[in-house]
Symmetry: C2
Subunit: 216 residues, 2 copies
Amino acid sequence: MEADTPRIEEYLESIYKLQQEQHPVSTSRLAEHLKLSAPSVSEMVKKLANKRLVNHTEKGVCLTDEGNTMAKRVVRRHRLSERLLTDILGYKWDEVHDEACRLEHAISPQMEDRIALSLGNPKTCPHGHPIPDKDGVLLKEKVRPLSELKSKEKAIIVNVFEEDPKMLQYLASLGLIPDVSVLVEEVAPFGGPLIVCVSGSRYALGREVASKIKVK
Amino acid sequence: MEADTPRIEEYLESIYKLQQEQHPVSTSRLAEHLKLSAPSVSEMVKKLANKRLVNHTEKGVCLTDEGNTMAKRVVRRHRLSERLLTDILGYKWDEVHDEACRLEHAISPQMEDRIALSLGNPKTCPHGHPIPDKDGVLLKEKVRPLSELKSKEKAIIVNVFEEDPKMLQYLASLGLIPDVSVLVEEVAPFGGPLIVCVSGSRYALGREVASKIKVK
DNA sequence: ACTTCTTATTAGGTATACCTAATTCTTTGT
DNA sequence: ACAAAGAATTAGGTATACCTAATAAGAAGT
């Protein structure tokens, strides 16, 4: 009767992520995100609901308090793993996601503490996302996508909502990483590109790309 | 048709370890070591044999070249994990085994390399056991158990064949750790204790305990 | 309102890795 | 040599987590 926690963690983490965009998460979105068939997800969601980790209504799936707590613990371990990989093992930010997806299920609460301590209690992952603290408290900054800035507006990159390595490499090559200041020089009309100024250089950035960069 | 590698790795690692004591490993020993029922092990061993990872004869199970290579890769990841835990995350040597048992299945070849590099290519785990290199080459020192030394013999601790935390704590408290020099002052007859001298202090050590400490 | 399209679920099936109980095969003691 | 003990396997069964194909339920278009 006991849980295959890795699998459960995977589901909770996905639901957690998808909830940020779409509140009650549809099972089809979840299936797509987990790369599983819809029936498999349907079935598993039922089990999660039985364990009181999610509520499953007509509109979709959402985490219960308990599910949310558990999801945040996984997110914490994922992001701490990413930091361990970059800060200590010399990984680049585009190489850490997949590795962290495996590590997050192999890290004990004790190791979680030790990583946090050894890294000086980092507040964010290498992509700028906040690391929930031990009690699940998560300080989320108010951000907006870079794509929504007006011409001549200046802002600081908070995080990058992206995990594709190619894309991350591209962004890093332009210096578009957290804590960097960006000036929007010009916004081309009709959904055209943004001309941005980053640490002295000027680049044209597609809207799609710019929408993934969150700034404050 | 593809492998549940973590489980396979677990078996190979156990067989690898047990082979050091008893060459063809009996399925019952294996079952005991893995804390599984004999039939479960019997069945799994059949699968491993199908995959050409072990040879299963009347006398027992032994690793094929391929199985041995795979086992050594797991051992490498296990011991590198242990070193990561002690050297970077501040764990004590008695706290690392269980944690490493989980990590060893979540570490990619790339991460393996990075850990080794970041730690300066350590040659042994915190308990003194050699870390196989990338190609499975493993330099095994010629050792004998401390329990076999004669009175007045002096030797250097190479490794400790033990993973029980309590025991490791005890040994560490006496300073009985790898690379430390020990002098046997006296050997009590009839399987009695050894009186040993370690960094200025004198202790009485049971035979059982002493047999787990390998020296050169 | 009704058909169409999408979304979700049920039905039925597979593979993995475990279990207990029963059986067979292998030693070993007398 | 043979019975008792011990080791290993077969038989039969469970739970988990996945799948495809078929069906049902809900939303949207004319």
